[in-house]
C-alpha cells in the first residue's frame, strides 16, 4: 500500500540524511537558473520522502534498522536507529517538506524575496538535520542534529536582514542554543555518567541508573524538558513568537514541518526511550511538569487571543498546542503517550494549513494584521475555507484529525486520575475557537473597511498564486483524511508503548 524503494532500510536512512546535502550543492550550482534550482529542491525532497517511507515500511513490518556511522569517543557514537515514533516523524517532516517547498516557490517568487538560493540551501540542511533527529539512535546523535537544525534555520529566520530580523534572530539563537548547551547537554552527560549509555532503549534506561534518588529525577526531567527549547514549554517559549519575522514558508517549516516538531518529538522520545513510561509514572517526577504543561496550554492560548498579527496569534497557538505533547508525555500513561504522538501528526497538518493561508493572504493582499483582514473572505474564499478546515482541526472538531489527540489525552488524564486536566483541555478548546475562528468570521461577515455597505453585490476574486493555494488545500484535506485513517497510525505507533504492563 505504501510505496517503497528497493533499498536496504538501514542504507535508506543514511541516504535520506545525505540526499538533501547533495541537493544543497546542486542548488549552489544552479544558483542563476531559478527553474532548475526549484527542480533540484523538489527532486531531493521527493527522494528523501520516498526513502523515509521505505524505512517506515520496514519499521511497520517489525524491523528496527540500525546503522552506526562512527564513534566519536569510546562508547559514544553517532548511530541511526529507526523505531515507530521516529519513522513517523521522518515521514511527516519529509512529506510536509515537499508541500512546504512548493509553497516556498509561490511565496518567494510572489514576494520577490532576495537571496533565494541561500534560502533553499539552508532548507536543505535543515531537512537533513530533521531526518537525523528522527532516526537518532542515542542522545548524542539527537543532540548533534538538534544543534545543526538550530544553526541551519537561523539564516532562514533572519532572512530579511533588517533590524527586526536581527533582533528576532538573536532571541531565536540565544534561547535555542542557550537551553540546549546550558540544560540539555548537561542532562545528556549526566545520564551517561549514571547509566553508562545514551542509547534509546524501549522501556528506558533509568531503572538501572545509579544515584537516582531524592530530587534527582525531577531535576533531570526538568533539564530535559526545558533543555529541549524547541518544544517551547513555558517559560522557554519567547523564541517562537520572535521567529515570526521570518518569511511565511519558514514559519510553516518551524511550526509544522521540522523545528517545533523535532522538539516535542524529542520530549516524547526521551520520555519513552530514556526514562521509560513505567519509570516516569512510578517515580512521581512528572507531577510538577503536568501542572507546568497545563499552565502553558492555557496561558499561551490566553496570550494568543490578544494578538492582532495573525502569524503571532498562530505562534502562541503553537506554544499552546506543543504543550499538549509534553502533557501527553508527562501523563506517563499509554493513552497519554499515544495522544502526544498523534498530536505531532495532527498538529503538523493543521498548523501547516493555517500558516500557508496566512502567507497566501499576505502574498495576495499584503495584509498581516487581523483587523485589516476584514472582508477579505469575499475576495479570497478558497484561502479562508482552507483556513477554517485547518482551524477546526486544531480546535479538535471531528471530522478533522485534531480531534483524536484530544480524545487520547483525555483518556490518558482519566487513566491517571488527574481529572483537572480534562478541564484544561476543554477550556483550551473553547479558547481555540475564539482566537482561531474569529478572524475567519470577520473575513466573511464584516464589510471591507472604508467601503461602507460593500457586502452586497458580487466581488471579483483575487486569490493568491496557485503555488500558495494548492499546498494549503492539500494539507487541509490531509487533516480530514487523517481523521479517517487514524487507526493504522495508532496500530503503527503501538509498539512504543511497550509490550508488557
Amino acid at each position: 500500500m505504501i510505496p517503497s524503494l528497493p533499498i536496504n532500510p538501514a542504507d535508506a536512512m543514511l541516504i535520506a540524511l545525505f540526499i538533501p546535502i547533495l541537493g544543497m550543492f546542486g542548488l549552489m550550482i544552479a544558483d542563476r537558473q531559478p527553474n532548475v534550482r526549484e527542480g533540484v529542491t523538489l527532486t531531493f525532497a521527493v527522494i528523501t520522502f520516498l526513502l523515509c517511507l521505505t524505512v517506515l515500511n520496514d519499521v511497520a513490518a517489525g524491523g528496527r534498522p540500525t546503522l552506526t556511522l562512527f564513534e566519536v569517543l569510546p562508547g559514544l557514537s553517532i548511530t541511526l536507529k529507526a523505531e515507530p515514533l521516529g519513522a513517523m516523524f521522518a515521514v511527516i517532516a519529509s512529506g510536509l517538506f515537499i508541500v512546504n517547498s512548493l509553497y516556498s516557490i509561490g511565496y518567494m517568487r510572489g514576494n520577490e524575496e532576495k537571496h533565494q538560493t541561500r534560502f533553499y540551501m539552508c532548507f536543505a540542511v535543515a531537512i537533513s538535520a530533521a531526518v537525523g533527529i528522527a532516526f537518532a539512535g542515542n542522545l548524542l546523535t539527537f543532540f548533534t542534529f538538534y544543534e545543526i537544525l538550530t544553526l541551519s534555520t537561523f539564516p532562514l529566520v533572519t532572512h530579511k536582514r533588517d533590524e527586526k530580523a536581527r533582533a528576532g534572530g538573536r532571541i531565536y539563537l540565544g534561547i535555542l542554543i542557550g537551553t540546549s548547551i546550558g540544560l540539555l547537554l548537561p542532562a545528556i552527560i549526566w545520564t551517561y555518567v549514571m547509566t553508562g549509555t545514551t542509547d534509546f532503549v524501549l522501556g528506558g534506561i533509568m531503572r538501572t541508573a545509579a544515584d537516582m534518588y531524592g530530587a534527582v529525577p525531577v531535576i533531570l526531567l526538568g533539564l530535559y524538558l526545558w533543555g529541549i527549547g524547541k518544544a517551547a514549554l513555558m517559560p522557554i517559549h519567547p523564541w517562537l513568537p520572535n521567529a515570526m519575522v521570518a518569511p511565511t514558508p519558514v514559519s510553516a517549516f518551524l511550526h509544522a514541518v521540522a523545528v517545533v516538531k523535532a522538539g516535542v518529538f524529542g520530549v516524547l522520545k526521551i520520555s519513552t526511550y530514556t526514562f521509560g513510561i513505567d519509570y516516569l509514572s512510578s517515580s512521581g517526577a512528572t507531577d510538577l511538569f503536568l501542572w507546568i504543561a497545563g499552565a502553558s496550554i492555557l496561558i499561551a492560548s490566553a496570550i494568543a487571543m490578544t494578538q492582532d498579527n495573525l502569524k503571532a496569534r498562530l505562534a502562541y497557538s503553537t506554544v499552546s498546542q506543543l504543550s499538549y505533547v509534553t502533557l501527553g508525555a508527562m501523563l506517563a500513561t499509554k493513552m497519554g503517550v499515544m495522544g502526544g504522538a498523534t498530536q505531532i501528526a495532527a498538529h503538523a497538518l493543521g498548523k501547516m494549513t493555517l500558516f500557508m493561508c496566512a502567507g497566501a493572504i499576505y502574498t495576495a493582499a499584503h495584509k498581516s494584521l487581523i483587523s485589516e483582514m476584514r472582508g477579505t473572505g469575499r475576495t479570497m474564499p478558497y484561502t479562508w475555507i482552507a483556513y477554517i478546515i485547518g482551524a477546526c482541526s486544531i480546535i479538535g472538531l471531528p471530522p478533522m484529525a485534531g480531534s483524536w489527540p484530544k480524545f487520547y489525552l483525555m483518556l490518558g488524564a482519566v487513566d491517571r486520575g488527574t481529572l483537572f486536566l480534562l478541564l484544561v483541555l476543554v477550556i483550551s478548546s473553547l479558547m481555540n475557537i475564539v482566537y482561531l475562528l474569529a478572524p475567519a468570521v470577520r473575513a466573511f461577515m464584516d464589510p471591507v473597511p472604508g467601503q461602507g455597505e460593500a457586502l452586497k453585490g458580487p466581488v471579483a476574486i483575487q486569490e493568491a498564486p496557485l503555488f500558495c493555494l494548492v499546498p494549503a488545500w492539500f494539507t487541509a484535506i490531509g487533516t480530514i483524511v487523517l481523521f479517517f485513517y487514524m487507526e493504522p497510525v495508532v496500530a503503527f505507533l503501538n509498539p512504543i508503548l511497550g509490550a508488557g504492563s
Binding site: E71, V72, L173, G182, L185, I189, V193
Partner: protein
C-alpha cells in the same frame, strides 16, 4: 646509534640549532623558506616520537650521554608527546601562514631576525615539554619567553602600543620566572636534586615549610606564565598587539606548554599525596571559574576582535585549570584534551583575524561588516572555529566540553557537581555572545560601498583551512586522542603511587 634513539632530542635540537643560522640568511624570502622547512622537519620528528611513545611508553634520553641525576635527562611520556606534537604541528601550520602576514605587518627588512626569534621561541616551547630536569624547564621557559617579548614588540610597526604590551609582558613574565626559580631553589635546598623523578621520590612524605613555600612559588610562577586569572594581565595586550602570525602561534602553544609544565609539577613532582595539594586544587576551582566568567564577560564587550579573542583565551585557560582541579584522571584528561582542542580553534581564529587585517587593515568589529560576502572563505573558517569554541557537536570544542562536564559529574567536589556543570555551560554560553556578535557583523550587515570580493594569498588560506578542517576532524574522531590523553592522565596521576 639509530635515529629512533635520538628521537626525543631531535624536536628540540632542530629549531634551536637552526635559529642562529637563520640570522645569517639574506633578507627577503630565504629565512622564511628555511624556517618553514625546519618547522616541518621538527613536526615530522615530533609526530614520529608520539607514535613511538604511544607504542613503547615513556622514553628517556640522557643528554650528552650523562645519566641522571647528574646529567640532564629528557623524559617524554604520553602527555608530553601529545603536547610536543601539538606545538610542532602548530608551528608547521603557522610558519607557512607567516610568509605574507609577516611580510605585510613586520616588513621583509627584519625577516632574518624575525624568523630566528620565531625558531628560538619554538625550540624553547618544545624544550619545556621534553625535559625531565626541573631547572632545565626554567631555562627553556625563559628561552621561549625572552624571544616572545621581542616578537610581540615587532608588532610596533602597525601599532606603537605593542611596545608597552611587550614591556608589561617582559616585567610580568620575568616576575613569573623569578617566582618559579625561587621555588626550584627551595626544592633543591630541601631535596638536593633537580631531576624530576628524584625530586618526586624525595618529596614523597616530606611536608615542611620549605617544601610548601617552594610549591607555592612554583604554582604562582607557572600561573603567571599560563595566564591564570588574576595573573593574566599581560596576555590580552600581548596577544592583541603582536603580529598576527605570532599571536596565532602563541595562543596555540605558549599557554598550553605552561599548562603542561603545571601538570608535570603538580602531579609528577609533588603528587597527590602532597598534603598541600588540596588547597591548591580548591584554589584552582575558584580561580578557574572566576577566570572563565570574568574574562568571557570582558570579551563580550570588546569591539576589537583580536582583543576579544585574547580575553577568550584567558577564559579558556580557566577550563583547563578546572579540569586539573578535579584532581581525577578524568579531569586531567579533559584538561589535556582542551589544551589540544583549544590550540586548534584559537590558531584558526587568530589566523582568520590576521587575514582580515591583511585585507582591511583593522581588527575592529566594523571591519567585519559583510565579510561573508567579501571574504567568504575566511568568514567560514571563523564561524567553524567559533562554533568549536562554543562547543557545538562535530567540532573539537564539543569533545573537550563533553569530557570536562563528564569529569565534573564523576568527581567528588566540595560543592554539588551539578552546580559546577551549570557554571561551565553558563560560561560557555558567553562564547555564543561574543562569537555571535562577530557572526552578526559578518553575515547580517552589508559590506561598505564599493568593496568587492578579495583574493588572499594561498599561503594564508591553506593553513587556515587546514586548522579549520582539523577542528572538524578532531570533533568527529576523538577516540584515539582521548584514549591517549586518558592513558597519559593515568600515568601522570600515578606519579604518587609508584
Amino acid at each position: 646509534m639509530s635515529l629512533i634513539s635520538q628521537l626525543p632530542v631531535l624536536p628540540v635540537l632542530l629549531p634551536l640549532v637552526s635559529a642562529p643560522l637563520c640570522v645569517l640568511l639574506p633578507k627577503g624570502r630565504m629565512p622564511w623558506v628555511f624556517a618553514t622547512a625546519i618547522s616541518w622537519l621538527t613536526a615530522i620528528s615530533a609526530v614520529a616520537l608520539l607514535f613511538h611513545v604511544a607504542e613503547v611508553g615513556s622514553v628517556t634520553y640522557n643528554m650528552g650521554g650523562w645519566a641522571g641525576p647528574l646529567g640532564i635527562v629528557y623524559r617524554i611520556d604520553i602527555v608530553g608527546a601529545i603536547v610536543m606534537a601539538l606545538v610542532a604541528l602548530m608551528a608547521a601550520a603557522v610558519f607557512p601562514y607567516a610568509k605574507e602576514s609577516v611580510a605585510f605587518e613586520v616588513g621583509t627588512e627584519q625577516s632574518p631576525a624575525f624568523y630566528s626569534l620565531f625558531l628560538v621561541c619554538f625550540a624553547g616551547l618544545i624544550g619545556v615539554v621534553a625535559t625531565g630536569d626541573a631547572f632545565n624547564v626554567f631555562v627553556f621557559l625563559e628561552i621561549s619567553s625572552l624571544s616572545t617579548y621581542a616578537l610581540v614588540a615587532l608588532g610596533a610597526k602597525q601599532d606603537r602600543r605593542a611596545l608597552t604590551a611587550a614591556f608589561t609582558y617582559l616585567v610580568l613574565g620575568t616576575i613569573g620566572a623569578t617566582f618559579f626559580v625561587i621555588g626550584l631553589g627551595l626544592l633543591y635546598q630541601a631535596t638536593g636534586t633537580l631531576n624530576m623523578t628524584d625530586l618526586h621520590e624525595r618529596l614523597t612524605g616530606q611536608d615542611n615549610r620549605v617544601v610548601r613555600a617552594g610549591f607555592a612559588f612554583i604554582v604562582t610562577g607557572l600561573g603567571l606564565k599560563l595566564a591564570m586569572f588574576p595573573l593574566h594581565k599581560w596576555l590580552p595586550d600581548a596577544y592583541t598587539f603582536a603580529p598576527s602570525a605570532v599571536t596565532a602561534f602563541l595562543a596555540a602553544t605558549a599557554t598550553k606548554v605552561a599548562v603542561y609544565a603545571m601538570l608535570r609539577f603538580l602531579f609528577t613532582v609533588f603528587g597527590f599525596t602532597f598534603a598541600f595539594m588540596d588547597v591548591a586544587l580548591t584554589l584552582f576551582i575558584l580561580l578557574g571559574l572566576t577566570g572563565m566568567f570574568a574574562a568571557s564577560l570582558i570579551a563580550v564587550f570588546r569591539d576589537d576582535v583580536k582583543q576579544m579573542l585574547a580575553f577568550s583565551s584567558v577564559a579558556q585557560v580557566g577550563y583547563m585549570l578546572l579540569g586539573i582541579s578535579f584532581g581525577t584522571p578524568e579531569g586531567v584528561a579533559a584538561a589535556v584534551m582542551h589544551v589540544f582542542n583549544h590550540a586548534l580553534m584559537k590558531a584558526a581564529l587568530f589566523m582568520a583575524v590576521g587575514a582580515v587585517f591583511y585585507v582591511t587593515l583593522s581588527h575592529h568589529l566594523s571591519a567585519y561588516k559583510g565579510l561573508g560576502k567579501r571574504m567568504p572563505f575566511t568568514a567560514a573558517c571563523f564561524i567553524i572555529a567559533g562554533l568549536s569554541l562554543i562547543g557545538v557537536p562535530f567540532t573539537a570544542g564539543f569533545i573537550s566540553k563533553y569530557l570536562l562536564i563528564q569529569a565534573a559529574f564523576e568527581a567528588t567536589l566540595p560543592v554539588s557537581s551539578l552546580f559546577i556543570v551549570m557554571l561551565i555551560v553558563a560560561s560557555s554560553l558567553l562564547a555564543v555572545a561574543y562569537i555571535g556578535r562577530v557572526a552578526y557583523e559578518m553575515f547580517l550587515s552589508d559590506p561598505p560601498e564599493g568593496v568587492n570580493q578579495v583574493e588572499m594569498p594561498w599561503t594564508m588560506m591553506v593553513p587556515m583551512g587546514v586548522m579549520t578542517a582539523a577542528n572538524i576532524y578532531f570533533g568527529m574522531d576523538a577516540e584515539t586522542l582521548t584514549s591517549l590523553a586518558r592513558q597519559g592522565a593515568d600515568l601522570l596521576s600515578m606519579g604518587g603511587a609508584k
